[in-house]
Symmetry: D2
Subunit: 464 residues, 4 copies
């Protein structure tokens, strides 16, 4: 039994779906397959945009929604014969009508909760699974649709719910024991909370769905089929010379995904890592390319680092004051305030003894964080025990990733000297003793230059 | 009116004291002088050692104490005529007898509190002030002894008390208005808490005494007379080419002192900084050398950095766990635990999103910190939500200091590449956006090499 | 200038509104009047019910809404001549249409945020102000409608927003300077956050609107017109012998309102208390009855207590464990968890040394509180350091209120002995040294008996 | 095997010790006995006083110490024949000389740490065990001295150390397996920390020593021999009619001991409670009196309560403020501050919704608590968001204890009405739902009256 996940671009058009079927057909000769599908390429974003338009009271949401509806209906027509169409069409219509109603409601109250948004954006995967399954059937496979709401259970953090691991694992095993079809098609991304509400697993969550199933069933491997031939040494959008990493260990993979590599959703690594199940990143459009194998003991190679990651849209907060030492529990009140405001801290650095502390967060969280900090220390700001909060936006983090960092002298030297020689200003640096990366905060404008510079130094020069 | 502080080596021998008198005699022609004195060179350490021996029940404390007593009695004989001697001798004896009694008590109960230790180690300054003042009188100056216990008031944190700024300032002004002598000799380092107990201001606290007086009296300048000709670009013990920094701003001076420069006690900068009073670091043995001037707007020079500092005896704590994210209030509980255990955090770095955090502390605090962290997260360790605490000792921090850091591209590159080229392994790095330093944690064994390497790159190459 | 607030029952029917006009007409001869109005009697509840029905997807919301619409339209017809009607009708329709649209949206997405609910339930006051003002005009008064959204500014805690006192006071003064009409009609309850969203001030918030205006304008008095002749010695629903309290001080009034007296919304006392402005509680249906005067120094009377208050629908949490002492920061973690869950603590009692703690909260908060406590101490429950959380529901608090409690020996004795003699079981007791009440937690079923028993003992017996 | 503990008064004089031997001789016919002894009556206090005098530099400590020395030497002479004396005398002298040295040390440095105090005050038990054991031997019993420092292991909280339960249990079993003598004499109260320092278990700690041994060895019972014939219904010092309680359950016993009953040290109950081992409280001077049996299911009796306890020397803190609600995390910051200052909270009561909170603590902790609270809320006090801290001293707590409280209607009524009728002013009341007591804070001066009043109502009237 194997678990394969196909991403949005792999399902971007009827043609692409045909490529998927070729891959699946071949593999299903030897194993029962569980096929986890994303929404068609771009659909989740479109659903989100429609929702946002409706929230703003903008009537254009209807036009956008119509476009999206047509796209699915056309896919049905393209892929399926008339007979198969009619049954499917009814099911697809049902889903689409529900979305229409919800969006009308959003439009009327001009408000959009994460709970409602989850209902809307989760439908992309449901639609794609309907269509793909029907297509498999038409092509003669013994395919069956399965419903992840029956086994992926989460808390009620709408927008990005946390999976109840124990319960989910317990539900998956008996569920799949009863599934005898050769191919099982499962919508990714969607889940259910303990009160029966729809939730979603975060953007990229289809990977997570696949990983949860693979781990619970002790699958021999997990395949993530996407539109690039593996996890890349750097973002190929910026770095033309970026190439696929043949092998990488789980922790490096987590670092790379955390710091921006989009091919794999970070939480997906954890469940399979625990079971030692290897992950293959494969390219639907070049199925014969080797891709990337993520496993515990990759063979050593000649590269000093595994990859260069990057998070754009970062803000830096700097909190300082000559009498910070005198503020009782300064650090813990700071992190308490941020935790309560649900602001995720990406990087912390404090280099002088409790005179200033520097925290990098996602640009989206700036207002929340500012509000939380100013509230938590309102009296201290008033008494001028703290300097006014200093916030810098339009920044990015670039980071070298390797689990062999500790043993390599000169890595940071090389990193910062090439950045310096290329005129890239470093705003903040963090590297900890057991960490798998060295991170630098730079201007967002210089990201492309920085990534190319680093890639050239750390990869191409090695290759020469 | 001027405030001059003379350090221990300036008072290391009768000869040296004669050099002090020459400086004082010359300056006192124009101004009333307040002369703050440290204990004779090495005396504070000897008092501390005697105390520690007595605490361990080691009878050798007596021999050491006798040596120390003799040294003071000999200084009296060397410096003073027979007539002056007898009166002074009685006073000196009184102080010494009290120390003898206390140490006997410590010997008997084999316990030494910070409170008792403060009583013992503060006597060095009292003795030196007695002797210096008597010598000034014999040399014909109108000198008078003043008592800092009447105006330097602190809390009861024995060992390193915190000055009650408002109260101290309020007491200093009227006290000095009544002092009409040309030269006022004041023991540094010692103070009193609000219950009348002796306290001390921390090692190097004589500087602080002088700074508090200078600030409260709005003195035009503060002179710190020591045995080097200024604040050095690096620790001359390790770096032969280190040279005195002509001018430096307050914040840079604070960074350098915080990170190891011993010529000035860090808290001393703050009170004079607030008043804009310049500090001169001068050399008793080369009174004509220019020394270092610390003030608000130093003239620009050709150097990219001001100095290289270093803290030896550092330990790194690494706390990590794949489910750290799931531990409510992780960061704030960590810093709460450390704050309660009175562990000062020197450097923090966290480079991956809440999977691990790395904290540098003083080696002395390792046990306390370990205990505090293990207690605070005992259940999480038990449930294996956190990996076992990873502690690395025998480390040091080296840091480049400059308040112009932000505008210089390539500084970190140069720093880390020269360190790398010289085989120095970097354990952790921290640099924040508004900080005045870039800090690297390295092996303690490599400190000398690191400092020389950096000094050569950042200073000598500039000079060529 | 005077501020008068008329409650919902005073505006319950066209007839009643005519009574209001008589009162207003008389008073407006001497002063400019600011008339703050609630929604028509029952309207806020109906709006809330409609909203809840729509949220549940229950189509009956429409019928209920129609009823409510008709009621307003009928009031317009009853009160106003044909001419006045048409203009007003258009305005009323506008408001009603907006509610219809919003409720349809709620129905479609089956979700109701506090933000949306605030928009809906605030319209009751807007409608009643429209109608009352128009009626005043028709009756020949120089009346003008004013808009509280221009001066009552709050944070964004929808459902019960917190007023930004400084900003609100600053806005009120110039706003009213420009209002020259004899009578100014202002909808109560509604406000605006700093982003322009509608907020509401909590059930009963019209009192608060009136108090804020009175305080900001330094009005000589604030009159609260309701359907009882003052603040009562006990809830007359339960206690037939309850009578109006002639005079009472601010703190007693706050206690009584906090503990259930519905005639005045608790937060309303604070702003006028600070300014020393007296509050009169008056009865629209017996305008000549004396009512209650709340002011700083009420004349002494023969009663030992001022009133008996009661909060129904209370739950008690009991957290205990023989090793609670061993749980670091037990109490502060408990209250932190409750604070974060936004659970308001009504009563705390801990009588044995840290073996158990007992907390009374509103019945509505039970689930939230339980979840928060179980999460905060999950590991401690798992390790059986704490006993399972013990929750008792269907309870009530009865309390004696007096600011002269301290000087009266035997008050608690009398209270608990009459309760005991009447078979009322006491679950928990709390009385603090500077508190103005003695509180007992009892079974909800015994509330009526308890109140009558206490009232008889403390009031009637005194009167005999 | 049985565990018997004899208290100080049982060992108050040579005559009394002879009574002890009679009891022991009789019981040792059937069982191996473990005899845990306190210091001779008054000795621990005298040792403490000597220490305090020495700390103050008062030479009278010597005279007091001599008296104490003589008392022990005289006991040796009285009890033992010349032959036995000489060997014992040498051992006793050794202990006494060590105390003399330590106190001289304390005198010289005028400082007394809890660590040093523990060394001094623990010697009382060591001396008494030496003498008692020798006397047993002389009387022909097969007696042996055992050393609790080898098995009672604690943390390093000098003055009142916390036992490491797991380690202590693990050490006790093998230690006693090797002890074959008929009677084993063990000094109570003293223990050792993990670094080998002497610690003590808190005043009354000999009970705890006995309980730990009984529990670890699964003894069939634990006998506490003291100078009263059981746990009394109230403190007989105040209440002449107080009588011994025949049977009581563990939880009631804990409540009574917590709230002042001196016959049993509160922590002693816990280890035997867990094992279900009954405790007998017996009177050395009336060995045939029944005493009190503490066990799980006492037979029901006609009394409504079990006893009346009392804690004298209580202080009440009242923290209030009209905007307490506006102070983020008010309650949890309060309890955090108290926990950090190591202030134990005896009673909490909060009766109005977050406007004031009332906390009872030990009078000794007032300064610490005040300092901690004022520091934690310094800015809030400055901004007048909180009223100045209100502290009331010279108070006491009286409490009714019963584990059947829940089922008895009218208990609180009776309690408070008799208090009221007797002119006793109630400052604060606390009773929680699952608590075993109702507590009232009253004036310390009225304690005797209150106790007698309550005792008469709850006990004598029942007896009539």
């Amino acid at each position: 039994m194997k678990v394969l996940k196909f991403g949005g671009t792999s399902l971007g058009s009827p043609e692409n779906i045909k490529k998927v079927i070729a891959i699946v057909a071949k593999k299903s000769q030897n194993d029962q397959l569980i096929i986890v599908v994303s929404a068609f390429s771009g659909v989740t974003n479109q659903l989100q945009e429609c929702s946002r338009l409706a929230e703003k009271g903008d009537e254009n949401y209807k036009a956008q929604l119509d476009e999206l509806i047509n796209r699915h209906l056309e896919a049905v027509q393209d892929l399926l014969g008339a007979k198969a169409q009619s049954g499917l069409m009814a099911k697809v219509r049902l889903v689409l009508n529900e979305i229409e109603d919800i969006l009308k409601g959003v439009f009327l109250i001009q408000e959009l909760s994460n709970k409602t948004l989850d209902k809307v954006i989760g439908s992309g995967e449901v639609l794609s699974a309907f269509i793909v399954n029907e297509f498999f059937l038409q092509e003669g496979m013994k395919s069956n649709l399965i419903n992840p709401l029956e086994f992926i259970l989460t808390d009620s953090e709408f927008g990005k719910a946390n999976v109840d691991m124990a319960l989910t694992e317990e539900k998956i095993k008996p569920y799949f024991q009863n599934q005898k079809a050769d191919v099982l098609v499962c919508p990714g991304f969607v889940s259910k909370d303990l009160y029966g509400n729809s939730t979603t697993l975060g953007r990229g969550g289809s990977d997570y769905t696949a990983a949860l199933i693979a781990a619970a069933l002790d699958a021999p491997e997990l395949e993530i089929w996407t539109d690039v031939s593996g996890m890349m040494t750097a973002n190929p959008k910026y770095v033309k010379q970026a190439f696929a990493i043949p092998q990488i260990d789980y922790e490096e993979a987590m670092e790379l995904t955390h710091f921006g590599a989009k091919v794999l959703y970070p939480p997906s690594v954890h469940p399979v890592y625990k079971k030692g199940i290897p992950i293959y990143i494969k390219n639907t459009f070049e199925p014969d390319a080797e891709g990337t194998k993520i496993h515990e003991f990759p063979e050593p190679d000649s590269q000093s680092i595994k990859g260069i990651s990057c998070i754009e849209n970062i803000a830096l907060f700097n909190l300082s004051g000559s009498s910070m030492v005198g503020i009782p529990y300064f650090s813990h009140r700071l992190f308490e305030a941020l935790a309560q405001a649900k602001v995720s801290v990406i990087l912390i650095t404090q280099a002088s003894s409790e005179h200033s502390i520097c925290v990098a967060i996602d640009l989206e969280d700036v207002e929340k964080a500012k509000f939380a900090i100013e509230k938590a220390f309102s009296l201290e700001f008033k008494e001028e025990m703290l300097n006014p909060l200093y916030v810098e936006t339009d920044l990015a983090i670039v980071a070298l990733v390797s689990s062999q960092m500790k043993n390599q002298i000169g890595l940071s030297g090389k990193m910062f000297s090439v950045l310096g020689q290329n005129g890239i200003n470093i705003k903040a640096i963090a590297q900890g003793s057991s960490e798998k990366n060295i991170s630098a905060v730079i201007d967002k404008k210089q990201v492309k230059k920085a990534l190319n510079t680093l890639h050239e130094s750390f990869f191409l020069s090695d290759l020469k």
